[in-house]
Amino acid sequence: MYNMKPLIIAGREFNSRLFLGTGKFSSNALMQESIVASGCEMVTVAMKRIELDDKEDDMLNHIISPNIQLLPNTSGVRDAREAVFAAQMAREAFGTNWLKLEIHPDPRYLLPDSVETLKATEQLVKLGFVVLPYCQADPTLCKRLEEAGAATVMPLGAPIGSNQGLRTRDFLSIIIEQSNVPVVVDAGIGAPSHAAEAMEMGADACLVNTAIAVASNPVEMAIAFKEAVIAGRRAFEAGLGEQSIDFTAQASSPLTSFLG
């Protein structure tokens, strides 16, 4: 039987190349069911300040499992200094040094600040964090993040939650071609076909949240994404045929002498 290559990040092996975000689900139970259905082995979580009269269900009970790597994010920070503080808080709270670094001070497009992201990556790697930075689909930046010791790069397909797909397609291709660390396409993936396309291009994994969480049936959508990521990866490993440079047909059947 053919087995897909496992993905290795910072020495940890992942059999699933789909990572899930935990935001926007209508309930923790539905989130948990979707995580299980997706087969994913890494989920992102956020942090918030406690409120003493907060009686909400503790989401931890719904996601803690030995098969699942928690990936705390730094959402809400505005610069590298705040990101380092948030990372240290996350490490204490969740007992993991893995971190989704995200610094997006602009509330309209939530686009990551490249200068602060690179600065924070350099500092956090020195502090012993496994840093997975959410970043612009900028090939030069991705190389700089790799040199700074990032465990992956996570370029965006389109703005967070936009479901717009791989608007940065051509730059993602260059990033994938050049990268020596896994490339995780994060943000903007709105349909299983977008995820399959990223995987066919050779991305190492996809991180999906909104498209699953806000679907009419998130559990079914989680399964659809799981299958799309597998299909796309299989196609990449199997080696896709080359595209013609124009619309000229390339016969797939013999054209000669059938009817004499």
Binding site: K48, R49, I50, D58, M59, Q88, M89, E92, A93
Partner: protein
């Protein structure tokens, strides 16, 4: 004594961070910073609170 928790003034009896954690009935997986310095769990017991201390306490939330 009077301390500031996430920017709000509260009254507490605790004299160190471990006691405050238990007095407030907080879940185990939280992180606590005192005067913007993260205090590792192993140091909660030995980190005293004083009048007007500023604390930040965070917990896990859903997010992408």
């Amino acid at each position: 004594m009077n301390i500031y928790l996430n920017g709000k003034a509260i009254e507490c009896r605790a004299s160190n961070i471990a006691q405050l954690h238990s007095e407030l009935g907080l879940p185990p997986m939280v992180a606590i910073a005192l005067e913007n310095k993260v205090i590792p769990k192993a140091e909660w017991e030995s980190t005293p609170l004083s009048e007007e201390s500023h604390l930040v306490i965070i917990r896990m939330a859903c997010g992408g």
